[in-house]
């Protein structure tokens, strides 16, 4: 059995994990008609549970990690996200079928009826509160709070992991400097989420679930949420070990593991490897290529894309320049993370702009 485990460990690398996630995401969108069938969904559920049981039985390491009180929320998250995604897609698929046949969405049938706040709303809220309380109490009775030893400045725990819900952010820190991954991106995520209602002018899909009527709103959002957040949390939990090294899900976390980390800055690529001359001493000159790339990406690329891609052309007309500009800016920044990840894996690229003189690294 360990051959299977070793094979999974071997196959799973940061880049392959990312590719598998993206393929999975694509399949999820593409074959939504299929997997939203309840029968099929139940099969997926059983396969996933079977896989976890298999992992727990055959890998003590996986079992140790999975049963840590810290990591219980991860399973809640995985199955919670899975269930609610399924539910929304199921309803969207049903509605899309009805719309295609010229019928109104399911929600339409009840949307003109009224119910009382008391007891219909308040009562079920109260019951939900009670059940929530029961769940929390049972949880706290069964599992101890995962406290660690007293903090010491001389010795940080290894691995030093953020709370589980921040592991996606922590994964970003592998690819970007703290000022970006820890400050700018999180801020932009919040601003971006706040901006959605102002950018999204599409009146369709209001009050009912649909996919076909708003694919452009759903796909990028879910990409950001699934690929750049949820799967990274999963990765951070099960595949990041001591030294923040990447470990297969069944690989023992050896704190003394040594891996190759020869990351190279863009400036070195251009000046040393391509042009064959040394690095200029002046930091601006040295990093000029990085600045050009960033400048092009943020300023040059949007008009170019708009010109070349007809869908974007339409979008520009629909949204107007300001909305469109903000949207593009946010989208490009979101894309910056996977782009940098890919660049790291393919070219060992460390920084596009790297100015250690005053800690400005991109």
């Amino acid at each position: 059995m360990h051959y299977i485990l070793d094979a999974i460990d071997f196959v799973l690398q940061p880049w392959s994990y990312f590719i598998f996630s993206v393929i999975g995401f694509w399949a999820m969108i593409k074959y939504r008609e299929k997997w939203t069938e309840p029968d099929f969904a139940v099969k997926i559920l059983w396969v996933s549970i079977g896989f976890i049981i298999f992992s727990m039985v055959y890998s003590t390491h996986f079992r140790d990690i999975a049963t840590l009180p810290d990591n219980v929320p991860i399973f809640l998250m995985v199955y919670g996200v899975g269930f609610f995604t399924w539910l929304s897609f199921r309803q969207a698929v049903v509605n899309d079928r009805r719309i295609a046949q010229g019928q109104p969405p399911v929600e339409k049938e009840t949307s003109d009826k009224k119910v009382y706040v008391w007891p219909d709303l308040v009562y079920i809220e109260f019951i939900a509160t009670i059940i929530g309380g029961v769940v929390l109490l049972i949880w706290s009775l069964c599992l101890h709070a995962p406290l660690e030893e007293a903090a010491t400045p001389a010795w940080t725990p290894n691995p030093s992991k953020a709370p589980w819900y921040f592991l996606g952010l922590q994964e970003m820190l592998v690819y970007y400097d703290p000022w970006l991954a820890g400050v700018v991106f999180p801020t932009l995520i919040i601003i971006g989420l706040m901006a959605i209602p102002y950018i999204d002018k599409n009146p369709k899909g209001s009050g009912y679930y649909t996919f076909n009527e708003r694919p452009f709103a759903i796909v990028p959002f879910l990409f950001g949420f699934f690929i750049l957040w949820v799967t990274l949390i999963f990765l951070g939990t099960f595949m990041r070990g001591p030294g923040w090294n990447f470990f297969g899900p069944y690989e023992n976390w050896d704190p003394h593991k040594v891996v190759v980390l020869n990351n190279v800055n863009l400036s070195e690529y251009v000046w040393v490897r391509i042009l064959g001359i040394g690095l200029p001493t002046n930091w601006f000159l040295r990093e000029i290529w990085g600045f050009l790339v960033i400048g092009f990406y943020l300023i040059g690329l949007p008009p170019l894309l708009t010109k070349k891609v007809p869908v974007l052309q339409e979008l520009l007309e629909k949204l107007g320049v300001v909305r469109y500009g903000v949207l593009m800016f946010l989208m490009l920044l979101m894309a910056a993370l996977p782009i940098k990840m890919v660049l790291r894996w393919v070219f060992n690229l460390k920084y596009i702009v790297g100015i250690p003189e005053f800690f400005f690294n991109i």
Binding site: V115, I130, I131, L137, E148, A150
Partner: protein, 935 residues
Amino acid sequence: MADFKDERAYNSKTLTKVFLWSGLLLLICVFLMVWKDYNRPWKAYQRQFMQLQKEQAIEQVPDVVSDIDVAKFKELYEAKKQAEKDLETHESEISKLNKQSADLDNQIYKVKTVDYQPLKAQIDADKYTYMARSEEGKDNENLKKKIDAETDQANAYTQKLFELNQQKDQVAKDLSTLYARRDEVAGNLAKMEADFLKLKTKIDKNSFSFLFYFRNAMMLDFLAPTIQIQQVVLKNLPEDMYFAKTMRVDRCMTCHMAIDKKGFENAPQPFRTHPNLDLYIGSSSPHPLEKIGCTICHGGMGQATDFNTCAHVPNDDEQAKLWKEKYNWEQPEGVQSTMLPLKYTEGSCLKCHGTQEQVNFAPKLNRGRELMITRGCVGCHKVKNLEGLTKAGPSLVRVKGKLKEEFVEKWVWDPKSYNAAARMPSFFQQTNNSDPDSLARNKAELHSIVRYLYTHSEGYTPNEAPAGGSVANGKKIFKEIGCLACHGIDDVTSHHADFAPDLSSVGSKLSAAFIYTWIKNPRHFNPDTRMPVLRLTNQEAADVTAYLMSKRNKAFDEASAPQADPAVRDALILDYLKVQFGIDGAKTQLAQMDDKAKEQYLGQKSLSKYGCFGCHMIQGFETAQGIGTELSDWGTKQVSQLDFGTTGLPHTHEAFVNAKLENPRQFDNGKDVVFNDKLKMPNFHLSPEDRESIVTAVLGLTNTYVPDEMTAGIHGNGPLLEKGRRVIFDFNCRGCHLIEDQGGRIREMYQKEGIDLSLAPPNLRKEGAKVQVEWFHDFLMNVHPIRPWLHIHMPSFAWTDEKIDAVITYFNLKEDEQAFPFKTINVPKLSASDLTQTKAMFDKLQCKKCHVFGSQVPADLSTAAPDLLKVHERLKPEWVLDWLKNPDALSPGVRMPAFWPQPDDKSPVPQYFHGNSEKQREMLRNYLFMLSSAK
């Protein structure tokens, strides 16, 4: 899904049912929560302990009851009854007195609280006003008058109170006179019952009564529970939480309830009494519970009250297995401090006693520390408080004049092949360097090392040894004179000292001339050696030389030295040079070297690499630093910082050190390591016991914060005592003598061979109180036998004044005697009549039967006692008195009889000085001091 019947989204009946069930579930969960909070394992232990105490008390009842004299008890009981009857006849008188007493109480109350106290308050207020007004310069005349009047009144009240109290005392006295008889009888009765009642109280207290259940009931136990957490708070031993120091709180006794109570020595855990209450925990012990607590010694999480969260650590695998079954035990992880396995607990002594040379009652720790010094651990590893000590191995500054090159190569290549008891550890032919490639390189290194040593060695020529010498006689002298206190040899199995080199094969190592010269005067070869002079005659020295030269290791003699390959040597040199000069430069450099230069270069590099200078004095390495990891706080190093490699050991400190000592190179197993980066710690071939001792000593090296006031050996005379102890350790005084009742290791041989222990070197208990400072100094400067007829010799150490001073100061301060300035010895002379009596007593006691008396010697000289004519110049008068009174207390097992058996102190010769033992001893002492001075 909403069904919208009757304009309602949900069926209200269903909702109510769901509400009912979820509400019930919540209630159950709340109950479970309270129960879980209430039901702590330690509570069960406390209930069990109550049961245990109760059972023990009940068991004792028959004994206590049988001690009571029933007839007397009955008699007293009757007497009490009678006394109470008698009291009835005085009934009117008693009631009158009681009434008077009550009346007086009322009056006293009135005068005190109604009259006096308000007036006193008024006076104080007026006095304040007086002061305030005079500060403002106002007229105070009327106020002054008022205060005076009030004060007079207050004094009158005080007087009244005094009188009333006197009257009351009188009434009470009258009453007690009447009750006197009854009270006396009742008191006696109570005394007889006391033990029984005490037991009864104990039984009642530990019974599970309704009140017990009420006070400890769930939700009510916040009021006044009897089952509760027990703890000590240790302000002086804070826990270092890195950012702040918090008070250490130990709650171990919450479950270990009998830890400070005698009588539970055999009870099952956790209710066993501490095995050494006199030394620990007991309130009169040096380590009382309320001051020292538990975790500072045992480690673990003092605040936790659950078996696993306390970080219990088992002593061995067997216990681990037991605990796993019984407590679901797991190796503690992520806690600040785990418990030390019981066998290593002595290590914790170092937290407070780290600056001391020896820790009393910690033999394992002392042995570990000793091994760390004598085996040379501290030569490579820096250890706090064990710095700047004499190097463990011999000086190689004159090695050329002592050893043959071939010997050194064979010896270092495999020390065990020369002598199984060799202390020199094995660097070569170990698990990580036994491949052909490493062997070849090691041989090249070794050869260059030896060449370096011989080039950097001063010349030395020993004196000629006289020809002849009896091996048999030499063997006898060697065994008897005291060599065995430091050296081991395979001819003697009853005792094996390892303080100095084992001499079982020394004939294969040294020349006769060297041994002879060395025995006669070790400083001829090495002025700094610790080897003393035994004052042997030339013939004796020749005999010992002959004996030692006969001790050869044939196999070793016949073996050939490892052969170094110059090509391998050059490759090694190239590796070093490469770093500095690059590969081409290195080749050029190498080409410029001749063989000698190459040997010197590689020798020097290899000596640095293996850290040989940690143990040996080597020219050119006088200031080199040890090459090992610093161990000063190794015991608190994070386990995750230790590289266990592929050893598969449990990840604990103790497993790591033990494995490191057992086979230091095993941590290279399964690794691809460059030759020069291979682990270099040599194999010391230690026995499991010795390893355990060293593990104890290493685990005790922590960075636990202990404030100065809790540190031993640094207050008052501490540093001076330690200075003396260091000399005593360095020169192995304990090899022969018992000092602070520790050591006297050579006695092992006397015991095993059935030799009278009184012929062994003396116990130096109270030596400071015993001998005069001047004598002590002269003796150490110029050792002369006190009992010349003994075989074993006190050797002559060539000590500096500083060392002698340290030793004398140590012995004196230890007995609270002042060494300096000198004390006058002042013993009164006997009067003529006293002298006659004393002389008679002296003869009667037959002192001369054992003691030498100037030129008069006892019949059996071999067991004789010291010369009495020298008492006056050697002994302190106070000590002589103590000695005469109880010699065994000062030197256990001594032959000197206790003439005045203690504790009765009955005189054996009652005819002198009216049988006053004290006086007799004093007279005898004065006689001894006079007698000698009269000579």
